[in-house]
């Protein structure tokens, strides 16, 4: 087991004929992902790395049933493409595009929730169930160098940091059940607390590592879940961006979502709130395996 994707997950790729999609599709197939079809309007009948391309989602699904769709469509096309996938009955969607307009994001997130579909992203480099399957570019051409199979779940606001966390785990002898980059945007399809709740239910995950940033109430929501007793597995949290508190509020440092709108949204406040709720708060990547060892072995 794992969360979100495993060996059996059948996948279609929306926008499969674009450069990034072709590249990622090749390396996903090599990793073991069951990519059964792709969709690009006007390109029906072509193939990409042996994967048949269709003009519409409905035609693709008529030939090959799928469980998930990975969307490489550019930001302006995300809304229609997600709605098409939801209408076609797909219940797991991963949106890679960055800079999607916020009105479109809140619409597709609400539409996915109303349909009972899970949306990962936007602005994610993917999800990987180590040794089984992956969606998106996560792990690049050699995921095995970073993501050793194991029993630790990772949920990160930053795609790049999932790799650093997985490496820190690997060097300490730990492996990963599933690692998900949830996306760093202001609004995401699935919240940090929801991912942690999925790991809590997964029999092959023993503990969860989360990476957070300033901005949004993802970490506060996770703390509320911990306080309510909704998670029995250890949660280790690394929250970056405390440096922002040295400068005037509203100053832009990096992603727009990583701006502090209220005092609860600062990195320091998030660390405190999570610690008070029972999470193990790490000061560095190196400290993550140490905290895991203590929490899992009681020493």
């Amino acid at each position: 087991m794992s969360i979100l994707v495993d060996r059996e997950t059948r996948v279609t790729v929306q926008g499969i004929t674009g450069g990034q999609a072709r590249f990622d599709t090749e390396w996903c197939i090599r990793y073991g992902t069951r990519i059964v079809s792709g969709v690009t309007p006007g390109k029906g009948g072509e193939t990409v790395h042996g994967v048949p391309v269709y003009d519409t989602m409905r035609r693709a699904l008529a030939d090959h049933p799928v469980d998930a769709s990975v969307l490489y469509v550019p930001a302006p096309m995300v809304k229609p493409a997600v709605l098409e996938a939801i209408d076609a009955g797909i219940r797991l969607l991963l949106v890679t595009a960055e800079y999607v307009p916020l009105h479109d994001v809140v619409h597709v997130v609400a539409a996915a929730r109303a349909a009972g579909a899970r949306l990962i992203g936007c602005n994610t480099n993917g999800v990987i169930s180590a040794g089984k399957s992956k969606l998106g570019g996560v792990g690049g051409i050699d995921p095995d160098e970073i993501y050793a199979p194991g029993r630790i779940g990772i949920c990160s606001r930053s795609g790049g940091m999932t790799a650093e966390i997985a490496l820190a785990l690997r060097q300490a002898g730990y492996g990963v059940s599933t690692s998900v980059a949830m996306g760093g945007d202001l609004v995401t399809g699935t919240t940090m607390a929801e991912y942690v709740a999925l790991f809590e239910k997964d029999p092959d995950t023993d503990a969860v590592v989360v990476f957070g940033e300033p901005g949004t109430d993802n970490e506060q929501e996770l703390a509320a879940l911990l306080r309510a007793g909704g998670v029995r597995k250890p949660v280790v949290a690394l929250i970056s961006g405390a440096f922002q508190e040295r400068y005037p509020a509203g100053m832009a440092f990096g992603h727009a979502a990583a701006a502090i709108n209220s005092s609860d949204e600062s990195a320091s406040a998030k660390r405190r709130i999570l610690r008070e709720a029972g999470a193990h708060v790490a000061q560095s990547l190196e400290e993550i395996p140490q905290l895991l060892r203590r929490a899992l072995n009681g020493n």
Binding site: E98, H103, G140, G184, E213, S240, F243
Partner: protein
């Protein structure tokens, strides 16, 4: 968020058929007087800056006639309001106001929020600070806001029954205009009832989503007229960000001396925290776009970092084994070091960059004694510790000399 000036916001609302008072922008006192001459009930002259709360700042003047309008415009033009130089004023017909109300829509989370208050106008902060006659509600993005909902909200805010149907309908129409503009903020203050019972959008402030400007090309140029940073290096990067293709780049100069060349995400935040915790002081924060064949934005950011006179060291730190090509970043560095020469030849530089093209990247900096390309497997923390130590040593040596 891109804040639009009032003339642009009102033009948008007017085009949607909403009751905006007659008005136009003027860039001189004479032009303001000419516009006001056509307003028999008097005019209101407002400084055109992309900021709210102008009434409190004295940037809104009432003028009885064209002559008074000329005087008011002359006083406002060239003054400074909320940090912006006033280059234009907005001249609007004066409305005989019976009552002033407040309405705003905001999008900064999963559901848009509507705030309405029975009392609006200059002292709206006081009104919003109390819970009396102020109503806040979240909007279901799929359902939108219908006039039945908005009438109920205004009743809850204590508005007299007679005006509720009209203002409720207007509020629903404004919500549609808010969504159609890809606005993140639309504030109407005051939303006025005039002496004949008609409605008027007297004050309007709108901020829109920069990611949606492809749907609003007319406003994309508006961003160019916004104020640029005063710091020449920040200004250079801001201009490069606007002019060049590719993902976003940013550069913010800080009071330290260790330059940071990082990506836009978590690893950049993490390294900045680390440098501080290890006793160093970052000279900047930055966002660089993903590597591509066009390295001009990357070059603009790195050039700004190297031109900072306070710079004593540089950390180039990226997360492990993403698909980004390392050689593009290192080639950009080498090009700039050769171009700038001088003190950059002795500047301690730590590179923590693993991934595609790494062997070539390492070869490019071989023989440069000041460049430390750390071995594969070095953690972000170890690289941060190295630059902090090298800068401290260089400073100590200088003091000893």
């Amino acid at each position: 968020m891109l804040r639009l000036t009032e003339d642009i916001a009102k033009a948008w609302l007017r085009a949607k058929g909403l009751p905006v008072p007659r008005g136009a922008a003027a860039d001189s006192a004479e032009a303001a007087a000419r516009l006001a001459a056509d307003m028999p009930g008097g005019a209101v002259i407002k400084a055109l800056v992309p900021a709210g709360r102008r009434g409190k700042a004295g940037a809104v003047r009432v003028a009885a006639d064209a002559k008074a309008s000329r005087t008011a415009a002359a006083e406002l033009l060239g003054s400074e309001v909320h940090g912006y130089a006033v280059q234009r004023v907005y001249v609007e017909e004066r409305i005989a106001i019976r009552s002033e109300h407040y309405l705003s829509f905001m999008l900064n989370g999963p559901r848009p929020e509507v705030i309405l208050s029975r009392s609006g106008g200059v002292n709206v902060e006081d009104a919003l600070g109390s819970t009396e006659n102020v109503v806040r509600a979240a909007v279901d993005p799929l359902r939108g806001l219908q006039s039945g909902d908005t009438m109920a909200l205004w009743r809850k805010a204590g508005l007299p029954g007679a005006v509720v149907p009209a203002i409720g309908g207007l509020t629903a129409a404004l919500y549609e205009a808010f969504c159609a503009a890809d606005a993140l903020l639309l504030e109407i203050n005051p939303l006025a009832v005039d002496d004949r019972g008609g409605l008027a959008l007297v004050g309007a402030m709108m901020g829109v989503d920069q990611n949606a400007l492809f749907r609003h090309p007319a406003w994309a140029g508006g961003a160019l007229t916004g104020t640029l940073p005063a710091n020449p290096r920040e200004r250079g990067v801001a201009l490069a960000n606007r002019a060049l293709p590719g993902g976003e780049c940013q550069y913010v100069e800080l009071d330290g001396d260790i330059g940071l060349l990082v990506g836009g995400g978590g690893a950049g935040l993490y390294q900045h925290d680390l440098v501080l915790e290890l006793g160093g002081r970052p000279a900047n924060h930055c966002v660089t776009p993903p590597t591509g064949s066009d390295n001009r934005k990357l070059k603009a950011v790195l050039s700004a970092i190297l031109d900072n006179p306070s710079l004593r060291g540089l950390l180039i730190g990226f997360n492990f084994a993403q698909m980004a090509r390392t050689d593009i970043r290192v080639r950009t560095l080498v090009e700039l070091l050769d171009e700038k020469g001088g003190r950059t030849a002795r500047l301690p530089i730590v590179i923590r960059l693993f991934g595609a093209g790494e062997a070539e990247s390492r070869a490019m900096v071989t023989g440069r004694a000041n460049v430390h390309y750390v071995p594969r497997g070095t953690t972000l923390k170890e690289a941060a510790a190295l630059i902090v130590r090298l800068v401290a040593e260089a400073k100590a040596e200088e003091r000893a000399a």
